[in-house]
């Protein structure tokens, strides 16, 4: 936040000018500046902004004068649903896929899974969004095209979620598969796994208890970052599938230069991201006694 605010001050040009466009009169600009508090010194602005944020006040919408906080909080659930479902895809498909290909490294199954997951990582999520829209909606007409679905109809809402969450989650399916495979292979080479083998423990137990319990740790630690990636993807998914959500809201606000909404939206995503990092840290601590001790 500090960074963004300082960016406003450091970049050449007048934020009011950018926000209101070239045709604004000097009076309009001055009024805008006073209304946004841009006429005050930087530190005061920042402290004021923080104080407002703490009390839940994110300012008011430039055009409608509605409080930003209520506009945003209306959109949060949509984005959360989308992100969590995307994450769900990644976990439910990605982790088993990674495990599976690590059991027989360099077999043809492993190679195929490898190529597919690397490709899934490489292809941008908005391309997947556009192409899946083209294929499943325009051509095959299997899924509804746009919007979030009927409010009272959970099935309809779910159907509207399938394609967007697939689009944003696919990359992370591949990513998790690769990550789990790599850390499984690394763990499988460790001494204590050799020892478990030397004791004749059943292979399934070695793989799914002794190795996975360790190999999952880096994956869990990365899930926090993963949510950040999914939130970025959600922006595109929401635009392509014309879904409500923070991404769409902020994008529209950028187009209309609705500065408070952009700030609020970015702030809320940052908070979501921070929360997910915290959660993944807590899960790591729950799984790893060595981390727990240093908490």
């Amino acid at each position: 936040m500090l960074l963004l605010l300082s960016a406003i001050h450091l970049v050449p040009g007048d934020p009011a000018g950018v926000a209101l466009g070239p045709r604004a009169t000097p009076e309009m600009r001055e009024a805008f500046r006073v209304r946004m508090g841009l006429d005050q010194p930087f530190i005061i602005q920042y402290v004021k902004f923080l104080a407002n944020v703490v009390t839940g006040d994110l300012g008011v919408d430039v055009w409608s004068n509605k409080p930003v906080s209520s506009i945003i909080s209306a959109q949060v659930p949509h984005t959360l649903q989308l992100t969590l479902l995307g994450l769900g895809w990644a976990i439910v498909v990605g982790i088993p896929l990674g495990c599976w290909s690590s059991i027989r490294p360099n077999s043809w199954i492993d190679r195929i899974v490898g190529v597919i997951s690397v490709s899934a990582i490489a292809v941008p999520s908005f391309i997947i969004a556009v192409y899946s829209l083209l294929l499943f909606t325009v051509t095959l007409r299997w899924f509804p095209a746009i919007g979030a679905g009927d409010k009272g109809d959970p099935w309809d809402q779910f159907m509207h979620l399938v394609l967007p969450s697939f689009a944003i989650g696919l990359g992370w399916v591949g990513y998790l598969a690769r990550l789990v495979r790599a850390s499984m292979l690394e763990t499988m080479g460790e001494n204590h796994i050799r020892m478990a083998r030397a004791y004749g423990l059943p292979t399934a137990k070695i793989t799914y208890v002794y190795a996975l319990k360790l190999a999952i740790l880096p994956t869990v630690a990365l899930l926090g970052v993963g949510v950040g990636g999914l939130l970025s993807g959600a922006v595109f998914a929401e635009i392509v599938f014309a879904r409500p959500g923070i991404g769409k809201l902020v994008y529209d606000a950028v187009m209309t230069r609705n500065y408070p909404i952009v700030m609020g939206g970015v702030l809320v995503t940052t908070v979501l991201y921070a929360a997910s990092t915290l959660i993944s840290d807590l899960i790591t601590a729950a799984l790893d006694p060595r981390v727990r001790e240093n908490l």
Binding site: N106, S119, I127, L133, L134, V138, A253, V266, Y273
Partner: protein, 294 residues
């Protein structure tokens, strides 16, 4: 393990081929595919002026939104511009953005990361705090916010990409430096009287640069994606400059009329990101001893 030690002896050392890594890279089928794709894309971007059938901003009023014809192999857009030519020029934009921003990030990240790792602890804390706050923004959100403030342009895209990717490089450079700081060979250099600058540039850089280069090769597709994404949202390149993102965006608007624009913008983008990712993965397999074992 056993086998390695057997080679050691007291009158000669283990000799090895200089080109073994390159051979290994080409032997890996994915690496080879990646290399071929990357070479093709780079070639066509450099030679766009000669191989593109039309100028990227030339109109053909008679043929608007046409499908593939002999005149226009990949069809035209709503203004009648040749989609194939625009795709070729789009590659040039994508690659130059990627190249410029990745090399900037790499250099800045390397420097800051080493500074954080080798410098005083307070500086380290401050830098880490800054890196973490930048990483706390989802990239696209950050880009949207910055673009609202300074307005869209290619330079903004590069700046945003550099700012958001520097922490990744810095983090790796920092952890590597921290790990190296207490290794015996760095202590040995210090015990010989080497000053920090010498230790950093002569002994830490050569050991830190390899993982950074691998990250850079993996980052190129990410950067291309960001550029295309922002242009897709209309926040990247300014018209009439062609970018894969803007072609896609236009295609998306006319998706119910013709799929060709979406294909012409998307397929090269997919190929490029795949090519660079395959190459990056293969490079990592060759150079990262941790994963090399198998």
């Amino acid at each position: 393990m056993e086998a390695k030690k057997i080679f050691s002896d007291s009158s000669d050392f283990r000799r090895e081929s200089r080109f073994s890594s390159l051979i290994q890279l080409v032997k890996n089928p994915l690496g080879l595919i990646g290399l071929i794709i990357v070479i093709t894309i780079v070639f066509s971007a450099i030679c766009a002026d000669w191989i593109a059938p039309y100028d990227y901003k030339a109109f053909d009023i008679k043929a608007r939104l046409s499908g593939p014809t002999w005149d226009h192999l990949l069809g035209t857009d709503n203004l009648g511009r040749d989609t194939l030519s625009r795709s070729l020029y789009g590659g040039r934009v994508a690659l130059s953005v990627a190249l410029i921003s990745v090399s900037l990030s790499l250099l800045i990240g390397l420097f800051l990361g080493m500074l954080a790792g080798y410098g005083p602890r307070r500086l380290d804390s401050v830098l880490v705090l800054i890196f973490d706050s930048i990483r706390a923004f989802p990239t696209i959100m950050f880009a949207l916010a910055v673009i609202t403030i300074v307005g869209p342009s290619l330079n903004t895209v590069i700046a945003v990409v550099v700012i958001t990717t520097v922490p990744g490089y810095a983090r790796i450079a920092r952890t590597q430096t921290l790990a190296l700081k207490h290794t015996e060979f760095i202590l040995a250099e210090r015990s010989l009287g080497a000053k920090p600058i010498r230790v950093m540039f002569s002994h830490i850089v050569p050991n830190v640069i390899a993982p950074l280069l691998i990250l850079a090769s993996m980052d190129i597709p990410v950067v291309i994606t960001i550029e295309a994404g922002l242009s897709f949202l209309g926040l990247g390149v300014k018209p009439p400059t062609a970018s894969w993102g803007s072609i896609l965006s236009l295609g998306y608007s006319f998706i119910r009329d013709t799929p060709w624009m979406v294909i012409a913008g998307g397929v090269p983008l997919i190929l490029t990101t795949l090519g660079f990712t395959f190459l990056g993965e293969a490079l990592r397999d060759v150079f990262d001893p941790k994963l090399k074992k198998d």
